[in-house]
Symmetry: C2
Subunit: 412 residues, 2 copies
């Protein structure tokens, strides 16, 4: 068999393996999206349950825990499958590491729920626990997007990730707003955090909009009817308008919660559609690559010799049919150009993930130089962003730029 052709085939087979791997990842991302949605709902219900001293939403909470359990099993099964099938793919190390991080969180869920049932946590503590678990799950999606080797699939993963992340900020805003109205007082730090959630949310949906297909963007517009948007903006305005310490109408809490829930539930449709698009794209690309590979194989023994040197022997006469007129070298050069172009486009798509990477790096730096936990480092960055009225990513960039002025890392 022609050795050049064999490596042409080997290269394509590598791509197919990577695409099949991505198809599993796509399914996993869908499963994570459903679990995150259910956990967001459980977070909301648990808050109402705790805030009411256990008198409200008890049965609803149990039903939601039930719903979460089934979705959690699906995510765990998706993790298993990745482990079994992807063990040879070197770039999976970071993905697996994220999974290793979030699994203890899932393991700790029953304990968290027991403490909530026993009213041993404040609503804020329960919210923080769910926020942390959901962040861990979204980090898996982030790593999947960053590890994808196909630019179109990577683009869809970036789109899904930003939508999920934006929806999570919307969920946090719902909880924060509900707590603010329930508290009955304007509260300055809470307003700051609220503003921050609005901005982070909008930033995510902006990136999503840059990457989403036209039908998906239309679906996203449809799920935010103007009347609902106006109502939520009115409630935000009421919460922000008063001076610190002044009274806030507690009766608006339920209105706020219901409006937010309506918006978030509608987002679910966009997320499901994006996840379905992702799986369809992976399947389509795998099928296409397989068909091409079959085409290559037909050429195996019959292909025209390659004219590597301009001065070398002329090509064998093209009498074997149309397909054989193209020399192996043409095919190789075409493949090489295509892989190069894919790689360039991949770099462009991945740039959209850069913001998050900058924040991660700045956190890592603060953890090392100030002996902070990850949570503490994140809070420090977020606090600085809020104090200086700057975006988190801009603060992260400043931290990285000032690295050499930070105290020396604590030696371990």
């Amino acid at each position: 068999m022609n050795a050049g052709l064999r490596f042409l085939v080997a290269a394509r087979r590598c791509e197919i393996d990577a695409l099949e791997q991505l198809a599993h990842t796509g399914e996993l991302v869908g499963a994570i999206g459903r679990l995150v949605h259910a956990l967001q709902k459980e977070r909301g219900i648990s808050n109402l349950f705790l805030a009411s001293g256990g008198t409200r939403c008890g049965p609803e909470r149990l039903r939601q825990i039930e719903a979460c359990a089934a979705l959690e099993q699906a995510v765990r099964a998706g993790f298993e499958r990745l482990d079994t099938e992807a063990r040879r793919v070197g770039d999976s190390a970071r993905l697996f590491s994220r999974i290793a991080y979030v699994l203890p969180g899932l393991d700790a869920l029953p304990g968290l729920r027991r403490r909530i049932a026993a009213l041993a946590l404040t609503p804020a503590q329960a919210t923080a626990a769910f926020v942390k678990l959901i962040a861990g799950l979204l980090a898996v999606v982030f790593e999947a997007a960053d590890g994808a080797t196909d630019p179109e699939i990577s683009r869809l993963l970036v789109e899904v990730l930003n939508f999920m992340q934006g929806k999570e900020f919307a969920g946090q805003e719902r909880a924060l707003g509900a707590a603010a109205f329930a508290g009955g007082r304007h509260d300055e730090p809470r307003q700051q955090q609220w503003l921050h959630l609005i901005e982070s949310q909008e930033r995510c949906f902006q990136v999503f909009g840059e990457f989403a297909s036209a039908p998906l963007q239309a679906l996203w517009r449809d799920c935010q009817p103007p009347a609902l948007r106006a109502e939520l903006e009115r409630l935000r305005r009421i919460a922000f308008a008063g001076p610190a310490g002044s009274a806030l109408d507690t009766g608006l809490g339920q209105v706020w919660f219901d409006g937010c829930t309506q918006r978030i539930d509608a987002m679910k449709a966009v997320e499901d559609r994006a996840a379905a698009d992702l799986i369809a794209l992976c399947e389509g690309k795998t099928a296409q690559a397989r068909a091409e590979l079959a085409g290559y194989r037909e050429l195996f023994d019959s292909a025209a010799p390659a004219a590597f040197f301009d001065e070398a022997e002329p090509l064998a006469p093209a009498s074997y049919g149309r397909q054989l007129e193209r020399s192996v070298l043409d095919m190789v050069q075409e493949q090489s150009r295509r892989l190069q172009a894919m790689n360039d486009e991949l770099a462009t798509v991945r740039a959209a993930l850069n913001e998050r990477k900058l924040v991660e790096r700045a956190k890592g730096l603060l953890m090392a130089h100030h002996r902070l936990s990850e949570d503490q480092a994140h809070k420090m960055l977020r606090q600085t962003a809020m104090n200086q009225n700057r975006r988190l990513v801009d603060v992260a960039e400043s931290v990285l730029a000032m690295a050499e002025y930070l105290p020396r890392p604590a030696s371990n």
Copy 2:
């Protein structure tokens, strides 16, 4: 078994697979270096053979062809092994594509040699053919460096690649200079091309110097004794000093060729040392990762439960021994930080490969917009660089920046 721990292990196993893959790549790079060196020598001998109308270097040429054949088999065997063992690694597609490109070149070598034996080629044509084949082999090394997932190994690959590339420019300079002295006349276009080779060469050795270890830099200094450097600079000066068309001492041709050969042979020692360092590093890293993995495995069933939520149950008392005091979560976070830091450093190292990528992209653009072959596109870029007295990479950047002003791509 603790699920988080299992993925911690899976992540490490992925890294080990990638390291073992890199060890094979390291050996292949060494084999390519040896073959390139032999082909460079065959190129020089073939030139003398052709220029003398077949009266000089005949037996030497046959011996060198013999030497090349053994080294070619080693490279082909290295390609085979990659194909067999790396088929599941998605990122190998570009590496395989480069191999698919260069293999027809190796297949076409016997034909090229027959034409040289028959004196059917000019020295310039023969040189161009060898240059093309060597460029194809170096492109494999480039892709290996770009695909490495370990920053230290990537750093060594970048170092080796730049040294090999610089050495190849030195080899081309030897051939060009020999032809210039043999021609007996100062020739303006040839001087331009010569200058360009000197600059490209120096740029490569500069990048090499930025990445090389201190012992390797010392070795590199040792293999360029001042007397030899002075002699070669003197000959360059003579070749450049005269006005176009004026006479050049043909007797200096042999002096030039011998001096260059002495320098290039000395470079071989640096290259061999760098290749040995590379293999040692891969082996050391694989052994270290395996030892760590064995350490993880001991923890499998006995590890302390992870405290994912700050408010969750306290850790089990640390009575199982020192190692178990660290929770799985600490280990996961440490792994995650390490992988993140590796990825950041990798980005830094790969930036050194960017120049070449820019040139490749600019070539691709010219090929698409001007219906040029790869060779033609490269010549066009190089000609512009020479005319404007700019570096190739700067011209490539201008081409990319002006992309939208280029004629529309020829539809296929």
